[in-house]
């Protein structure tokens, strides 16, 4: 049984209220930070903990906080990125729905550490219930004196505001989020300058994921060094994984980083195996934008070792045989799923969500979607497969924000690992409309000799 830090009290009735949350040890971190620590101490603890951003990129949170510019007389902001819209990821929504006070407490600690007196939670527009839950939680915290002027007599003032987004995936990109928060069209900004120098309203700003902010609470409570003992290597602590797809028990699980992928999929504590007794075909390990891996590569590394749920182990092997932990959207596909259709579906999403600011992404995402649609519906040509690879290469790395990469990777990786299936769709268009390609050899043990 792995340690639970964020979801420890998830099953306590009424944990969404201030009263119960406080009884279960909530808001200890605020009291500890505000009464006994300086803001630099908090940053130092987060640095020691080795906490890495939970939103997808995995950038060390403490490092991000210490990069924040601190010019005199200019306000600083902490912005919580709750615009969770990656297909396959739903951990932040779960956290905000059930323990909103964990986020509010984290926001207070984080804002104190950064010296921010106004903080924002930018919530995806579609999450209306969560917006109401958060506003209620803020009101409760304020009534109890944990927000507002002179919190707990420490002389520190803080206001937290909830801002609903307009419902665009691109607003999850930090600079687009800031543009949107300022009331403009959500186009990503060109970096540099980075938000740590000029972010919201041109002031130094830190944008953190919901889970990263919530994770600062146990770090302050137990100390950064204690937190760093959990996990493996540079992947410290616990991570929320949104497990979905063809598994027996879909849902949000808190795991200690370093758990093996096989255990995560097959143990009863987590996913509980593949549903209906089917066999595993492929896994998208970190939300739709990370490369998809076939069964044999997701369970084992190219050298035959077990693959673990950690930032390093999942990306072991680079793009050739690895993927990424990303935001923790763990999508499992069984032998009856069609990879071409899945890739087309992802591609359709990115086509719809591209902001249209820079040309390769604006035009390329639509192009890929149309070609994939053609292959899926039996009108594909052999040359289409190489065309897709070429278009994805032209997009990747040539755009302002990472959405271009996110659109290119699923397509490129699906073709890299499942080329047989794409070719089968082209060669047997009629058959492809009637049935699926099946598992084929995607679960066969990897020939390790090849790697030598």
């Amino acid at each position: 049984m792995g340690r639970k830090l964020l979801l420890e009290h998830i099953n306590v009735p009424g944990i969404n209220t201030f009263q119960v949350y406080k009884e279960k040890g909530g808001y200890r971190a605020v009291e500890k930070a505000l009464k006994t620590m300086s803001s630099d101490d908090v940053v130092e603890e987060v640095k020691k903990s080795g906490l890495r951003g939970r939103g997808g990129a995995g950038f060390p949170t403490g490092m991000k906080w210490s990069f924040l510019a601190k010019p005199e007389g200019v306000p600083r902001y902490l912005v919580c990125n709750a615009d969770e819209s990656e297909p396959g990821t739903f951990k932040d929504r779960y956290l905000m729905t059930h323990i909103p006070h964990a986020l509010i407490e984290g926001m207070i600690v984080g804002s104190y550490a950064l010296g921010a007196n106004t903080s924002y939670i930018y919530v995806r527009g579609e999450m209306m219930p969560q917006i109401r839950i958060l506003e209620k939680a803020i009101a409760e915290a304020k009534a109890a004196g944990y927000l507002g002027k002179n919190i707990l007599g420490s002389g520190y003032d803080l206001e937290i505001y909830v801002q609903p987004g307009g419902g665009a995936y691109i607003c999850g990109e930090e600079t687009a989020l800031l543009e949107s928060l300022e009331g403009k069209r959500g186009n990503p900004r060109i970096k540099p300058p980075f938000p740590a120098i000029a972010g919201l309203y041109g002031c130094p700003t830190v944008v953190n994921n919901v889970e990263s902010i919530a994770a600062t609470v146990p770090i302050v409570n137990e100390g950064g060094e204690e937190y760093a003992k959990i996990g493996i290597g540079r992947s410290t602590g616990t991570k929320l994984i949104s497990a979905s797809g063809n598994i027996n028990k879909p849902g949000v699980y808190e795991i200690e980083l370093g758990l093996s992928v096989e255990d995560f999929i097959y143990s009863d504590e987590y996913c509980g195996g593949i549903a209906n007794g089917k066999r595993l075909k492929a896994v998208v390990a970190g939300g739709s934008s990370v490369p998809i891996l076939p069964a044999n590569l997701i369970l084992n590394l190219a050298n035959g070792d077990k693959r673990l749920m950690s930032y390093e182990s999942l990306s072991e092997g680079g793009f050739a045989t690895g993927t990424m932990l990303g935001s923790g959207g763990f999508v499992v596909l069984d032998e009856d799923q069609c990879i071409v259709r899945n890739t087309w579906n992802f591609s359709r999403f990115y086509h719809h969500e591209s902001c249209g600011q820079c040309s390769p992404c604006r035009e390329g995402t639509g192009w890929m979607e149309k070609v994939l649609h053609r292959i899926e519906y039996g009108h594909g040509k052999m040359s289409d497969i190489d065309l897709l690879v070429d278009v994805s290469k032209k997009i990747e790395g040539n755009t302002i924000c990472p959405l271009g990469d996110a659109a290119a990777w699923p397509v490129a990786s699906a073709i890299r690992h499942f080329r047989d299936e794409f070719e089968w769709h082209v060669k047997e268009p009629k058959l492809a409309l009637e049935r699926n390609y099946g598992l084929a050899r995607y679960a066969d043990p990897i020939e390790i000799a090849e790697e030598a």
Partner: protein, 334 residues
């Protein structure tokens, strides 16, 4: 010690002011090593970074931190560092990426150059001539929009638009109220006035000049003539609202259109007002200064007053040279 910083572009060193972008440093050198720019416009603050045609490779970050940059960067929005080394046309990677960008820009472009008023002075046309392939790999219907008249003088042909945002920045920065913008997302995003509101402002006509393609065209010049058959002449008038310095485009005695004066990169020297642009179309309104040199390497300068120099390659061919000379004399006789 001078506070200028040294940067090397394609092996050519240049000293520039701190804070200069790579693109502007390249423009100080000039010639073939200048990256093309479809969306950057030096007179418009915040423009650039969007079209990705100006991508270059930074092979050495700076003297202090010589690591190369991991990705290709947009030269229009990347400032130079001391000792930076940049590769533009000497990097196959850059050429490949630029070819990709041009291909992307063209997949939804109607390629209706034969009936487009911008033909001849279109940046996309020049760029596709230089980098594009003769055929397309895109086998689907192109996105289409209806033509829209925004005001009585400007027509918006959204099919041709490459969403460079220049006209949006122009309206923001030159005029006092912007009534058009970008609506929608992705490849279905469009420039629009929201509810077909007319753009009605003294300086609105400048959006025509900044448009790199034929998406925003002058209705008073629409289908009047091909730009390469008209002759540019510099002229000025005493205008109460703008500088009054313009280029008149003549066909015979008639002034077919009036534009601002554009430099070698297609950027205007000074923005002009709508009265000068649309209403003063008679030689009597203007003080003529002389023929306008069009330094852009494009079909636009093919038929102009004194740019018809015999090409060096023709010097080896005395017959062609003679023919060329005769034609030049014929052309300049009037």
């Amino acid at each position: 010690m001078s506070d200028k910083i040294k940067v090397t572009i394609d092996g050519i060193p240049v000293e520039v002011e701190p804070g200069t972008s790579i693109l502007n440093a390249a423009r100080q050198i000039g010639g073939d090593i200048v990256p093309p720019a479809m969306c950057y416009y030096s007179k418009l603050e915040g423009s650039g970074g969007k079209c990705r045609t100006c991508l270059v490779k930074v092979s050495k970050g700076s003297e202090k931190d010589p690591r190369p940059m991991p990705k290709l960067v947009a030269s229009c929005r990347t400032t130079v560092m001391d000792g930076m080394e940049v590769q533009n046309i000497t990097s196959p990677e850059v050429i490949e990426a630029r070819k990709g960008v041009v291909e992307m820009l063209l997949i939804n472009h109607p390629l209706d150059c034969p009936i487009c008023d911008q033909a001849g002075e279109c940046h996309l046309q020049d760029l596709s001539y230089e980098h594009g392939a003769a055929t397309t790999r895109y086998e689907f219907d192109r996105r289409t929009f209806d033509r829209v008249d925004i005001g009585d003088k400007i027509q918006l042909h959204m099919n041709r638009c490459i969403l460079c945002y220049r006209c949006v920045f122009t309206a923001d920065q030159i005029t006092n109220n912007r009534v058009h913008g970008v609506l929608g997302r992705g490849d279905h995003a469009e420039i629009s006035t929201y509810i077909e509101k007319a753009i009605d402002n003294d300086f609105s006509g400048n959006v025509i000049d900044v448009c790199p393609v034929g998406a925003l065209t002058d209705k008073t010049f629409r289908f009047k003539n091909r730009v390469w058959f008209t002759k540019p002449v510099e002229a000025h008038r005493d205008c109460p609202t703008c500088s009054g310095k313009v280029t008149l485009w003549y066909k015979g005695e008639e002034v077919l259109r009036v534009t601002a004066r554009k430099d070698v990169y297609g950027e205007v020297e000074e923005f002009i007002c709508n009265t000068c642009r649309f209403d003063k179309k008679s030689t009597n309104d203007w003080v003529i200064e002389g023929p306008r040199q069009v330094s852009r390497q494009s079909v636009i300068n093919a038929n102009h007053y004194d740019t018809l120099q015999p090409l060096p390659v023709i010097k080896k061919n005395p017959e062609l040279m003679q023919a060329n000379k005769e034609q030049f004399e014929r052309a300049t006789k009037f």
